[in-house]
């Protein structure tokens, strides 16, 4: 199993680095490792899917074959179809949908889109959260007029926290054109508050520590202190939140799809395949269960990995 995540591999050379310890703890956590394996497998599938549906077009998720609508999984394509419309091998691995499109091809295409929605949205929220939290923590005492930078940013953060997140996303998505980028951005921009809060808290405490004070005394520039000296200490909780955040983002996208605000065609996501499929639950149950279980699997994998990492990073729980 070469499933080691990049971070520990890079730092593995350091003798008894904290990362190494974390990795050792994590390796013993069977649920987390299971999650990790699933994720690695799904990432491979997503990349292959992207390749097979867009670069070399082995599977065309957009081909409409009305004659073959609602074929159950593993069924043969009908003989009426012209050759160019046949799915690879003449078999629908996961059946077809209401328009006779190959569900397998759509799931493949959707895996990449769903994963990228989760990852991009989380990257956005991590960047925003780290930057705002970092500024608030590092420049806590700098005054802008009557208020400190810290107060300004944190009041804004608190204000955002008061609004029900899903509701906020819904309002914005309903008002904006439903493009995939808008959805990524909106999900990203509404989930950074937690990260900002603990990055700030971490920075506030780090500021007083010897090595930062020393770096200051040496006259190092602020960005250098922030990114090279302080940030690595705050990485662990950010990483945990980000991992769980991906899970939340994928769930949010599927909920939006259910309400009709999700990613629009031609992009297939697992969320909108599921939302489309739910109407046909009596006619074609696979359209409901396949994407539903896929979402469940990927979200669960992210959650378990995140939780495993949280436990591994938490020294208090390790002692016992």
């Amino acid at each position: 199993m070469q499933a080691a995540p990049a971070t520990p591999a890079n730092t593995a050379t350091l003798v008894d680095s904290p990362w190494r310890r974390v990795w050792q703890v994590l390796r013993r956590d069977r649920l987390a490792m299971g999650g990790l394996c699933v994720l690695v497998a799904l990432t491979v599938v997503a990349l292959l899917g992207k390749a097979a549906t867009e670069w070399i077009v082995l599977f065309d998720p957009a081909t409409v074959r009305l004659v073959d609508k609602f074929r159950p999984p593993l069924s043969q394509a009908s003989a009426l179809l012209p050759v160019r419309d046949l799915p690879p091998g003449g078999i629908y691995l996961l059946g077809t949908d209401a328009l006779g499109r190959d569900v397998f091809a759509r799931m493949l295409q959707g895996s990449f889109v769903s994963m990228s929605i989760g990852l991009v949205a989380v990257s956005i929220s991590v960047v925003v959260g780290v930057v705002l939290g970092g500024i608030a923590g590092y420049y806590a005492d700098v005054r802008l007029g009557p208020v400190t930078v810290d107060a300004l940013i944190m009041r804004f953060t608190d204000a955002m926290l008061c609004i029900p997140v899903f509701f906020l996303i819904l309002v914005v998505v309903a008002l904006l054109p439903a493009s995939i980028y808008n959805i990524m951005i909106v999900i990203g921009l509404t989930r950074w508050m937690g990260i900002a809060r603990f990055v700030r808290a971490e920075f506030l405490s780090l500021r007083e520590q010897d090595f930062v004070v020393a770096a200051h005394a040496l006259g190092l520039p602020a960005p250098r202190i922030i990114f090279l000296h302080m940030m690595p200490n705050a990485v662990a909780p950010v990483l945990v939140t980000a991992t769980i955040g991906v899970a939340t983002a994928i769930l949010t996208e599927s909920a939006l799809s259910f309400l009709g605000f999700g990613v629009q065609p031609p992009f297939a996501t697992w969320g909108n395949i599921l939302a489309d499929g739910k109407n046909f639950i009596f006619d074609a149950p696979w359209l409901f269960f396949i994407p539903g279980c896929a979402i469940f699997a990927i979200v669960l994998a992210f959650n378990l990995l995140g939780e495993g990492m949280r436990e591994a990073f938490n020294p208090k729980l390790q002692r016992r």
Partner: protein, 320 residues
């Protein structure tokens, strides 16, 4: 103490103002106009739309619209674009409909989470602990609407009884007892679905808190004194672990409102979530804005309440 509360209150009022600015700007800057028009009605003329725009001040600059909104909200004269009804009574009516759902879901969350979480903490690492951990993660990883449909179909196919809506129609003349039980039955599935995420999260939280407390010296002391295990866990440990839960209460309110959007849509529950969703669809700004603001107010009130409780329970706060 009084000063602490006052400062706390003031901060929250400032927050509320920020929230109102944020929400108002967000909603009005997005494209799209109130949709009064029936898609298929060929007889609705554009002049009529123009008149409606003027009647609702949509041609005024943004800050003027903000002023009008606050003024009308304060005087209770804010009206829905959609049907011209005053907004506040409308929201109140719907809130009353949602209330049983919220209460029932909250009851389920708080009564189920404690025993499961405590047991898991006591038997850390046991099969019970690991399976509840897994189940908890499974529950938060399933798309809510996916689970709801599964539940609805299972109940309807197995028992053949209606589960949608607030009560069965057509039994207005039935004995009071029948109608009461009917209403209760209609609460079961939706509130369970609304509670699922909460149960999973809170039981995890209870487990972690209990683990923290069980490791503390006073618990060990209690054990050493020879008190029986149940007394140690339920009297000593639990009482001290309870404190942080007070804050959870305030924080779970916005999640409830967010969750209600989807659950009420599925279960045809005429509550606050449906109201907001329909308002978003119809670009009914007064309702959208007001519901969001009220949700923020409730959250703020929740956190304020938990701050007070905290201060009452924990004397350290008063000193700082």
């Amino acid at each position: 103490m009084g000063q602490y509360l006052l400062r706390n209150l003031l901060q929250r009022l400032v927050l509320l103002v920020i929230v109102s600015f944020l929400v108002h700007a967000l909603v009005h800057l997005a494209p799209g106009e109130p949709a009064e028009v029936d898609p298929n009605n060929p007889r609705f003329k554009p002049e009529d739309v123009a008149k409606i725009r003027a009647a609702f001040h949509l041609d005024e600059p943004l800050h003027v619209q903000y002023g009008l909104w606050i003024r009308d909200l304060a005087s209770g004269e804010l009206r829905s674009f959609k049907d011209g009804q005053p907004v506040l009574p409308k929201i109140w009516d719907r809130f009353l409909n949602s209330l049983p759902l919220f209460v029932c879901a909250t009851l389920i969350v708080w009564t189920l989470s404690f025993p499961t979480g405590i047991h898991a903490a006591i038997r850390r690492g046991s099969t019970y602990d690991r399976s509840t951990t897994f189940i908890a993660y499974a529950l938060i990883s399933i798309p809510g609407f996916f689970l709801s449909y599964l539940a609805i179909l299972w109940v309807v196919n197995t028992f053949g009884v209606p589960v949608i809506g607030m009560h069965t129609f057509g039994n207005e003349d039935a004995p009071r007892w029948f109608r009461g039980m009917d209403r209760l039955w209609h609460l079961v599935v939706p509130s369970l679905m609304l509670a699922v995420g909460g149960v999973a999260i809170l039981s995890r939280y209870v487990r972690t808190q209990m683990l923290e407390v069980i490791g503390q010296d006073y618990v060990r002391t209690a054990r050493a004194k020879g008190l029986d295990e149940n007394t140690v866990i339920y009297s000593h440990a639990l009482r001290n672990a309870l404190l942080p839960f007070v804050t959870m209460f305030g924080l779970m309110l916005p999640e409830l409102v967010s969750g209600a959007v989807i659950i009420e849509q599925i279960f045809a529950w005429p509550g606050i979530g449906r109201l907001s969703f329909d308002a978003i669809l119809a670009r009914d700004y007064p309702v959208v804005l007001t519901v969001t603001l009220i949700a923020a107010m409730v959250t703020l009130a929740g956190t304020f309440l938990s701050d007070i409780l905290y201060a009452v329970v924990d004397p350290r706060i008063r000193l700082s």
